[in-house]
């Protein structure tokens, strides 16, 4: 037994097992990470039950609390006695749970730790209502009544009437937003244009009064248009302020909430299985399509998704020609020698440079130097307020194009390398020039390789945050870079980005605890998108590898 152990150790097999364990550990870590994000992210939209708890406080008084129970942890009894609580003898650890009490406007905080031994009674009353609001976070309570124009409303089914009023409020809210962002936004945009035109006339020292009069006339038109819209807006605002709902919290307090502030409402304890699933998908959809609220800690992430997609598109437009041309040059045209070695070293360096250096370069060179010059030449009227002299969509796309250039070059090269020489030689033998061979035969065949490169570049750009922090991404962008006002695409505007959104909500939020599920959900979305892109790239690359295996000599 001893000798075989010694031989077993000396043969080195235990080390092989440890090496195998290293692989297992790495894969397990990746899988564990993905599962963690999935578990916490997917749970965000599920309508959790609302509990009502009769709780005994430290001073012996009883309190009725309502809320959603969250994580639990063990606390050492010693720590509690230090804080002043009475702990019976012989108890080493006490379990405590995090209760999301909501009602921040009444209580002051969203969360509260409660100790298990002090929870005297826990129920899930069917009549508990969850309200999702525009401000102050969630509200947990019971529906008491409705008010219209200050008058109490008689109704037989308060809940159904409430839902009806909520529907009306939601429609009005959409109308108000469309009016504000659409029509009034257009008027403001044109007024700003006129101001810049006028300033440009002043800078050009134009004294012709007719030009100024023309601008004044247009301005007067726009202002009268605005007055009409404003009246409409006032009417809508009055209409939306008509209704209010009376809610009662678990500890008996009655509050009147304007319907205007309520975004959604549901009774989680009364929902059946199908309703919950329906609610889940509805919430997931609104997460993807709504705008953020409450300093990004609630609501949806649509502008971040839109900004990321737009930036990635712009980046692709810039990086594809450069990357493909460089890859083609390296593979097809250049003689393998010192020059190609230097170019390959340069490509490797571009790949290895830390992303923050790209951000610094983008900020200094693109934004301040190039952007400042562009402002001086073309946007003098807007100065001292910078147009391109500050971070924006265009500069961010350029910076990321520079960052992902090596990925495209390497993939293009790989794609071209897979195509057997026989095809090129056949085409040349038939009389085509090198350029024609390339353009008509080789490049189309290599396009899956190029596509792999683009997909990997897009995946990289969606997740890269450090350089974007410096060149144009913001916490909250007032408008999208693409809208209905000419020239429709505004590359100087700042935008929101999915990766930066995760950083911002997780670390720069006023209320990190409440925002945490949202961070996980956004992270899940980002990870899913990137994984899908990478798997698509791998699939395309594998297909390419198989396709030409037979042709290889």
């Amino acid at each position: 037994m001893d000798s075989s152990l010694r031989t077993w150790i000396r043969s080195g097999v235990p080390w092989v097992w440890l090496n195998a364990a290293a692989v297992t550990a790495s894969i397990a870590l990746v899988a564990g990470l993905l599962l963690l994000i999935a578990a916490r992210g997917l749970g965000h939209f599920w309508p959790a039950a609302v509990h009502e708890i009769v709780y005994q406080q430290a001073d012996g008084s009883r309190l009725k609390l309502a809320g959603q129970l969250g994580s639990r942890e063990h606390v050492l009894a010693a720590r509690l006695t230090e804080a002043g609580r009475e702990i019976p003898e012989g108890v080493e650890t006490v379990e405590r749970m995090l209760l999301k009490t909501g009602n921040r406007d009444l209580i002051g905080t969203d969360f509260r730790w409660i100790y298990e031994p002090s929870m005297l009674q826990v129920t899930q009353p069917v009549s508990m209502v969850v309200l999702e609001r525009e401000e102050w976070g969630a509200f947990f309570g019971r529906l008491v009544g409705l008010r219209q124009d200050g008058e109490l409303l008689e109704s037989r089914d308060v809940w159904a009437d409430f839902l009806g009023l909520l529907e009306r409020t939601t429609q009005l809210r959409v109308q108000i937003r469309d009016l504000e962002k659409g029509a009034i936004g257009r008027v403001n945009f044109r007024l700003e244009r006129l101001r810049l035109d006028e300033r440009q006339l002043q800078l050009d020292n134009v004294t012709d009064p007719a030009r100024f009069a023309d601008i004044e006339r247009q301005r007067a038109e726009l202002e009268s248009e605005y007055r009409v819209l404003e009246r409409e807006l006032v009417a809508l605002n009055e209409a939306i302020r008509r209704d209010a709902v009376i809610m009662q919290t678990s500890d008996g307090q009655e509050v009147e909430l304007p319907m205007q502030s309520i975004v959604d409402a549901w009774m989680p304890n009364a929902m059946g299985g199908f309703e919950r699933v329906g609610h889940y998908f509805r919430k997931a959809w609104s997460f993807l399509t709504d705008d953020p609220r409450e300093a990004n800690t609630e609501g949806g992430i649509f502008p971040a998704i839109f900004g990321t997609i737009l930036m990635v598109l712009l980046m692709t437009v810039v990086v594809t020609p450069f990357g493909v041309v460089a890859g083609v040059y390296l593979k097809e045209y250049a003689k393998q020698g010192v020059l190609t070695r230097i170019i390959r070293i340069a490509v490797n360096n571009l790949a290895g440079v830390p992303s923050i250096v790209y951000g610094v370069f983008g900020l200094g060179f693109f934004v301040y130097t190039l952007g400042g010059s562009i402002d001086q030449l073309f946007f003098e009227a807007a100065l001292p307020s910078p147009t391109f002299g500050t971070g924006g969509l265009f500069w961010a796309s350029l910076t990321l194009a520079l960052l992902t250039l090596p990925v495209v070059i390497v993939s293009t090269e790989e794609g071209l390398a897979r195509i057997p020489r026989s095809i090129r030689e056949g085409s040349l033998a038939l009389g085509a020039t090198q350029w024609e061979t390339l353009w008509r035969t080789v490049l189309p065949m290599a396009s899956p390789g190029i596509m792999t490169g683009l997909i990997l570049a897009v995946a990289r750009a969606a997740g890269e945050v450090a350089p974007l922090m410096l060149v144009g991404v913001v916490k909250l962008a007032p408008s999208l870079p693409l809208d209905g006002n000419f020239p429709f695409l505004h590359p100087e505007r700042k935008f929101m980005h999915l990766g930066f959104h995760i950083y911002d909500v997780g670390f720069q939020s006023p209320n990190v605890e409440a925002a945490r599920p949202l961070v996980y959900a956004t992270a899940l979305l980002l990870v899913v998108v990137i994984l899908l892109l990478n798997m698509a790239a791998i699939h395309v690359r594998n297909g390419l590898r198989e396709k030409y295996r037979g042709l290889e000599t």
């Binding site: 092989v16 297992t24 550990a25 942890e73 340069a346 997740g463 950083y503 961070v519 992270a523």
Partner: protein
């Protein structure tokens, strides 16, 4: 067409070159020397009759102020010397005192001193010892457009026109004033050793907003030859210099001698306070300037310490002019030389000889971009006004201020500190890159410690032992690991892993201790016992078999953590660390960063090392096996050495990646620039520092350029590492194809 493509191809090189040269171009001005240019100005005949007591110039260097020995205060246009506004100071000759108007009192002005706070307050002392305080400020008006700027000077007497202090007829030889929100402090002394101080408290009338002074005049006599006076900015201390080379520190308002310190054997010729009123500058007859400031000792008592001395100018220091907005200063020597210094950088920046101008009065512009000089009267035309244009953008940067320990104001000893900005102008910027570089390497080191074993061992196994079917799944798995954005890794590390580690520190260490022995035990059991199960698991599928074992061992380790912790550490490892071992613990620390960044770096090292090992020709390993070696021995003694250049380049690239990583460090450390190898404390790295501070730095300032310098350092490091790795890999490719 060919040329177009060639240009596109070569453009990649140009991109790298452009980045490098742009970074250099932004960093370069940090190391440029200061430039000065002497510009002649007009002669002012109106000043012929009385010499200057005080000269000042405003921010745009268009309007200046001259106070003459006759008590005449004139605002003048700097370019032409033309007088803009004249008034008579109500002290000395021709003082307007009502009944005494017109009586020739025969007194003129002797001295003037600016308030330590540089807020426009000036104290002027007459030859018979009366001191009054006035304020000069400048209002800017624009009639239309920037070109039509008009600067209007305003003269005020915020505390009245009556003298606030007097020496009872003795001639003053020194004057100092401090004016802050709570009090006005005036100190004057005569040559025979009499020192008088008015420590006036301000009372603001709530209703009318007027400020009233409650005077508190004290006097003392000193028995040494009095050289100069200075008051500290916090109005706690009075510094008196004696001509024998000592500084005496007195407390205020009690005027008790607290300390005497020997500063210079050559004898003190001039003293002044630096911006902020903390540092005392002492110039001696040998041309050496010394800087002293109060340092707190263990008993919480302050004492003046000589902190640094500057290069000698070989001629007695006649005048010290501190800059209004930076911690630099300009001195004038008896030989007529003007020299610019910076205190934090501890260096002499530029010397210029003004001897030809015979300077009688100097005024340093608020932005320290110009020096106004009034020369002595030589002819009937009157004294000449000259200007020295100064371009001194980045005086605080020197090799020692960037890389060595610096003794900053209010610190007890020289330290490495990075603290780039604060709320006020009086702040001393602390730009030491050492804590940042240290932090970068600390983070990279711990990350590599975590990543190298996992990555190299995994790569060796995947390339050499693993079955091809499993390898087809594992390689994309590692690629997915590489594709995970670092934002996600960072936020998980900061929001989930760091709190978990803090709660389960013992559990984490148990995992490290229990899992390898557990795995080895399982592999021994597997080896010893022949079961049918073994036949069903083919060679090369060990990782899959180990997965349940790994999870089981992990769960066991975490379950054992509680009892082990109770036995060894009294129940709480974390508390034991802080209380018994004295090791401080931050929630977001190097351990968390090491794991998170290690996770990010593993795929980089893994793929390159795996390619290297996979590329070793099979013939080599077949030969070794044929000679009787075991597969493990073949791997270690034949394959790995052959692939070692590739593995080395993998490590280099991994290191480059670890050094440049930003988001994980930003989110998983506390971002505090501390220099400590402690595993349980945070750090700040170069990359995270750039990300945090760049959006808030003033464009083209020293701070901005230093951040670019940090980016340049990162760029150069990764350039060297990547180029080296690529050259090694290219050579390896050639070597393999030859085999």
């Amino acid at each position: 067409m060919r040329w177009l493509i060639a240009i596109g191809g070569v453009a990649v090189i140009w991109a790298v070159v452009l980045i490098f040269f742009y970074l250099m171009w932004v960093v370069f001005p940090l190391f440029l020397p200061a430039q000065t240019r002497l510009v002649d100005g007009p002669a002012v005949p109106g000043w012929r009759d009385s010499g200057p007591v005080y000269l000042a110039v405003e921010e745009q260097q268009e309007v200046g102020l001259r106070l003459s020995t006759a008590g005449q205060l004139s605002f003048f246009d700097v370019a032409s010397g033309r007088s803009l506004q004249e008034s008579q100071l109500p002290v000395g000759q021709g003082a307007d005192r009502g009944a005494d108007r017109g009586a020739d009192r025969g007194a003129g002005l002797a001295l003037a001193a600016e308030a330590v706070e540089r807020n426009g307050m000036v104290a002027a002392a007459s030859t018979d010892g009366e001191v009054i305080v006035f304020r000069h400020r400048y209002e800017t008006r624009f009639a239309g457009g920037v070109e039509s700027r008009i600067i209007e000077p305003v003269l005020e007497y915020p505390y009245g026109e009556a003298p606030l202090l007097d020496l009872a007829g003795a001639a003053p030889s020194a004057l100092a004033v401090s004016d802050n929100a709570t009090g006005l402090l005036l100190a004057t002394a005569s040559a025979d050793g009499r020192v008088r101080v008015n420590f006036a408290r301000k009372n603001e009338n709530f209703l009318s907003g007027e400020v009233e002074l409650a005077p508190d005049v004290r006097e003392m006599r000193v028995d040494y030859p009095l050289g100069g006076l200075a008051v500290s900015g916090n109005q706690r201390w009075l510094y008196v210099g004696d001509l024998d080379g000592r500084i005496h520190r007195y407390s205020l308002p009690g005027l008790e001698l607290e300390q005497t310190i020997e500063v210079s054997a050559a004898g003190i010729s001039s003293i002044g306070m630096l911006l902020g009123g903390i540092s005392l500058l002492v110039g001696d007859n040998a041309g050496v300037i010394s800087q002293l400031f109060p340092v707190r000792d263990e008993n919480n008592e302050y004492s003046l310490v000589l902190v640094r001395q500057f290069d000698s100018l070989d001629s007695p220091i006649v005048r010290i002019l501190p800059e209004e907005r930076r911690k630099g200063f300009l001195v004038l020597t008896a030989g007529g030389e003007a020299a610019i210094f910076h205190s934090t950088a501890g260096r002499l920046i530029e010397r210029v000889s003004l001897a030809a101008l015979q300077p009688a009065a100097l005024a340093l512009a608020p932005r320290a971009d110009g020096l106004l000089i009034e020369g002595r009267v030589i002819d009937a035309e009157g004294p000449r006004l000259s200007r020295l244009e100064i371009e001194n953008e980045h005086p605080e940067i020197s090799f020692s201020s960037l890389w060595r320990k610096v003794w900053y104001e209010n610190y007890e000893k020289p330290e490495y500190v990075w603290q780039s900005s604060a709320a006020t102008n009086e702040f001393e910027p602390k730009f030491s890159l050492t804590p940042l570089v240290f932090g970068t390497f600390k983070a990279a080191l711990y990350a590599m410690l975590f990543a190298i074993p996992l990555a190299l061992m995994g790569a060796a196994y995947t390339a050499y032992f693993m079955s091809p079917e499993l390898r087809k799944w594992v390689k994309p798995g590692i690629e997915i690991m590489a594709a995970l954005p670092t934002v996600i890794l960072g936020f998980l590390a900061g929001l989930w892993f760091a709190p978990w580690v803090e709660e389960n520190l013992a559990g984490l260490f148990m995992l490290l201790l229990c899992i390898p022995p557990g795995l080895l035990a399982f592999s021994w059991v597997w080896h010893r016992y022949d079961t049918r199960l073994k036949d069903r698991v083919p060679d090369g599928w060990e990782p899959l078999l180990l997965l349940p074992v790994l999870l089981l061992c992990g769960a066991l380790a975490l379950w054992l953590a509680e009892p082990v912790q109770a036995v060894l550490f009294g129940g709480d490892l974390r508390a034991w660390l802080s209380e018994t071992a004295g090791i401080s613990y931050d929630q977001r620390n190097a351990l968390v960063v090491g794991c998170a960044m290690g996770f990010a770096v593993i795929p980089t090292i893994f793929s390159i090392a795996e390619d290297a090992v996979y590329g070793v020709p099979r013939s080599l390993s077949y030969g070794s096996l044929a000679l009787g070696a075991t597969p493990w021995q073949t791997l270690v003694y034949v394959v790995l050495p052959t692939a070692s250049p590739g593995i080395f380049s993998a490590l280099m690239i991994g290191l480059g990646r670890a050094v440049g990583e930003t988001m994980i460090v930003l989110m998983a450390t506390g971002n505090t620039p501390v220099m400590d190898w402690n595993l349980f404390e945070g750090m700040r790295t170069l990359a995270a520092n750039i990300a945090v501070e760049m959006p808030e730095s003033e464009v083209h300032s020293s701070h901005y350029r230093i951040l670019f310098l940090a980016a340049l350092v990162l760029f150069l490091f990764t350039f060297v590492v990547n180029t080296g790795a690529e050259l090694i890999r290219q050579r390896l490719r050639v070597k393999y194809s030859a085999m």
